[in-house]
Structures are given as structure tokens and as C-alpha cells.
Symmetry: C2
Subunit: 243 residues, 2 copies
DNA sequence: CGTTAAGTTGAAGCGTCTCAAGATTGGTGG
DNA sequence: CCACCAATCTTGAGACGCTTCAACTTAACG
């Protein structure tokens, strides 16, 4: 078990009651297949906020479904800069590789306290052979993750800072909405300026300037673990047209 | 059949003689399984240089293995900037999606004349059911493509221009070496400055300045469809330490 | 209420972009 | 073989976006 984690004592969350199971990797399926699938989930971990889930180079022989909380996946460069690759939200799959002895090419850090559903090599194998449709689901998830990475690469490579920030926030807002978060209200937002800056490839100082400007224009306010979206139309216009 | 392609008349290249089959998606396998697999390849296309293979939004009901030539995969932003996502080399898999009616999120353009081996929905399905180990191989390929995208995102987001260029060239050189290209000699290199600039997120003008500087230092020379690597150690030091 | 982490602001400098003119290369036809 | 053309690459000058460093302000938390 990785550093800083603790095994959640039973009773564990049941899949049938899991709020994110429709997003998670072992949807789709019949309601009554879930009991069997749940039995193949090894255990659940709880990791406190601001703790590593895994480091680059680790090769944990397990994969995780994020059941609750936020996780920041990132890569460190040799110049000590950090690129945030993804902000994982409930339902997202972490540390998946086709061979579990392949080392991970990136690290992951909890933004909040999180609950992880754990699957080891054996349980994955059993799941895939008992429920062959899950193989297809895994392909879809991998494919969606890759598409998200290409999107991020495109705007980090080609858009100016103002636009990158707008696109990053809109991506997140969209994914939160899918998860039932009401973004017309101020929401709890466990990313600080440094996290956002590292995701879009600018410095926190510059992010602060642009972010103050957006706040002044009544578009968004993201500070101190709160996000308030005041004018989503203008945010979209910023993201798409840069104005 | 997509625009600008033509169907290559038989005799097609045989898999047993294919120079890149060890890299391609239907390795691994027994030598004698290749005949059967080849029978499931629908056909081969030949596409001239500088022609589209597919556009963003297309949903061709087929996937391609690049048998020979180079292909540039990219995404256009609404501000008319282009991000080059990948330079596909022989053996690489193009347009793969878990559901072939999903539209593609990026476009592809030939850099040289290319030969594509074509697989349609039916043939993929037959291949995967006759050779179940190919499913695992597809996971590996998808996973490697995603890892490459994360790498690119990291240096485009976090490294200065000089370092990005060095990393991009080293990535390419490494992948060419795997394919048996001898980079101690000048090689044919069908990317112009604009292609490289769009891959690393700078302007062609700035690329030209840095590239002249590197040439002056006797590190690399990439112009006019030729690449000469003069000092790979210094190129690596540039990529890793920025000096 | 004090302490610490997080965000803000100013000033100066550097890296990258833009625009525009000029040079080099490879290809084509005379 | 040479002249010409188009595409590609190069170079300069000025402007702009983003970074750096450092001081200051604000919010969160016990």
C-alpha cells in the first residue's frame, strides 16, 4: 500500500449506492452484476489531502477508481518545473497500464481527501474475463483520456494565457457539471493558483494578474478554494475567440 | 475511401516481408499466423505527399497502419493556429477509436507519399476474436501514444524554446533509430520549420533563429528536407539541462 | 488575534512575436 | 546548362506578453 494511504475499514461504499458508478470503469452493466464486480474490488483506500497517491517511476500492481475527492496528476521536468497533466475527478481511473509492472510516467497528488477503489492484477483479470464488455469500456476510457491530453496540448501550445485559463476552467466546469455539481453557485474548488498555472503553462504571478482582470470583468472568481462562475457566456467567448 | 487516396493495386506488400511489422499493431504472433492476419487487412492505400489522410470530425469506419512514409497529426484552434500532436512514422497506428463511428478529434496530413494498410470494422473484429493477444497489443499502443502526448505536453508547457526543440528532435531521432535509420549520416527529413514550430509551440521565425544558433554551434542542422545530427551529446544536454 | 499560506501588485528584464525585406534552395522549362 | 520561380529559410527592428524578484495585502485557521 502506497505511502500515506490507509485502508478504509469496512463497511465500504457499495457500488449500487456509488454516486459516480455511471462514470466509472465498470459501468455499463446490469444492476445485479454489480455485486459480483464489487466482490472483485480488492479494497478501498483513504488518502488525506495534499498527499502523494503515486510517484513517477512507481509500478503499483493495482489501478484506482477515484470514488470521491480530487487528484492532481503531473509530471516534473528536470528544470524543476511541474506540468499538471490532469485534474482527476470522481469516477476517473488512475494508474491504469496494460502491464501493471510498467512504471508510471507521471505522479499523482491528492488535492482533497480522497477515497480510492482498488483493483489488483488478479481482480482486473477476473473482471475482464467475467464481463468481456468491460474491455471495450477500458478502451473508451483510455481513448477519452488521450483526447483530453491532446486538447490540453493544443491550447497550451497555441493559445495565449488568457485563453488557456478560460479553456482550462471550462473543461473543469464541464466535467463537474456531468458529475452533478451546480456551477451557478459558488463551489468548493481545491486548486490554488499554482496548480492552475502549472496546468496551463504560465507562472502563478501572471495567472494572478489575468485572474484579477477576469474577476474585475465579472467573469469568474477562483481564489482561496472557491470558484464562482459569474458569466459563463463571456468565459466561453474568451476560450473560443480570445475576447 | 478518403479524398486524394488511391487504392494500391495488388500485389500488396506481404506482412511477412513488411519492414515495420515488429512495430505494427498485429505483432506479436507466430510467423504463420501472419498470412491469416494479412487476409483480414482490407487493402492498402497510397496517398501522395502533402495530402490529407483525414480531417477533424471525419469518422472513417477504418483504421490505418502506416506502412511507409511520414504523417503529421494535428489539431486546429479557432484562432487558426495549428498544434502538431504527433509525427507518425512507419508502423504507427492512425485513426484508432474504440467505436469507429466516433468522429476523430484531430486531422492528419501526409508529409511524404505514404502507404497505409487498411482495416475496417469487420476485419478488426475478426482479428481480435481470432487472435485475442492483439487486444492487449492495442492497449499497449494506445498507452504508448498517450504517454508520448503527456511528454509533449510537459515540455511544451514548461520548457523554453531551445529545450523544446531539442526534446522534439531527440524524440524523433530515437523513434527513427528504432526503425533502423542511421542518424550518424544526414537523413531525409520531410518536416519544414513550420511543422516543427507548430509541434513545439513557437513561431517559425523564432525557430529559425534558434535553429541557426544550433547549427552554428555544430549541434544539428535541419533545413530543406535534410537533418544532420552533428553532436547528439550536446543535443541531449540541451534537452535535459537546457545548456 | 496572531500566524501562515495564498494571492496581489509594481518595476524591470527577457523571450518570443510580428512585420517586412532579403537570401537560399530545389524544381521547371527554355 | 542556365534562368527563373516558388517555397523555404534568414535576419533586423520594434513591440508585446510573460517572467522574475520583492514587497505588500488578504484570507483562513487555530
Amino acid at each position: 500500500m502506497p505511502n500515506g494511504h490507509r485502508i478504509k475499514p469496512p463497511p465500504h461504499t457499495h457500488c449500487t449506492e456509488c454516486p459516480v458508478r455511471k462514470l466509472a470503469w465498470f459501468e455499463p452493466g446490469e444492476e445485479d452484476a454489480l455485486d459480483r464486480r464489487e466482490a472483485l474490488r480488492t479494497t478501498q483506500y483513504i488518502v488525506p489531502a495534499k498527499q502523494p497517491v503515486y510517484q513517477e517511476g512507481d509500478a503499483p500492481r493495482e489501478v484506482y477508481t477515484l470514488q470521491s475527492g480530487w487528484v492532481i496528476q503531473y509530471k516534473m521536468l528536470e528544470n524543476a518545473h511541474r506540468q499538471v497533466l490532469n485534474v482527476a475527478l470522481p469516477g476517473d481511473l488512475l494508474a491504469f497500464r496494460p502491464n501493471l509492472d510498467t512504471p508510471l510516467d507521471h505522479a499523482a497528488l491528492t488535492a482533497t481527501e480522497v477515497t480510492l477503489c482498488v483493483f489488483n492484477e488478479h481482480s482486473i483479470h477476473r473482471l475482464l474475463s467475467e464481463f468481456p464488455e468491460l474491455t471495450h469500456r477500458l478502451f473508451e476510457i483510455q481513448s477519452a483520456q488521450a483526447a483530453q491530453c491532446r486538447r490540453r496540448l493544443s491550447y497550451v501550445g497555441q493559445a495565449p494565457a488568457r485563453q488557456r485559463i478560460a479553456m482550462f476552467l471550462l473543461d473543469l466546469i464541464e466535467r463537474l457539471s456531468v458529475r452533478g455539481v451546480d456551477i451557478s453557485q459558488p463551489i468548493s474548488f481545491p486548486l490554488n493558483h499554482e496548480d492552475i498555472a502549472d496546468a496551463v503553462g504560465i507562472t502563478p504571478v501572471h495567472l494572478s494578474r489575468i485572474s484579477s482582470e477576469m474577476r474585475g470583468l465579472g467573469i469568474v472568481d477562483c481564489r482561496y478554494n472557491k470558484l464562482t462562475v459569474r458569466d459563463i457566456a463571456r468565459l466561453q467567448s474568451l476560450a473560443h475567440a480570445g475576447i
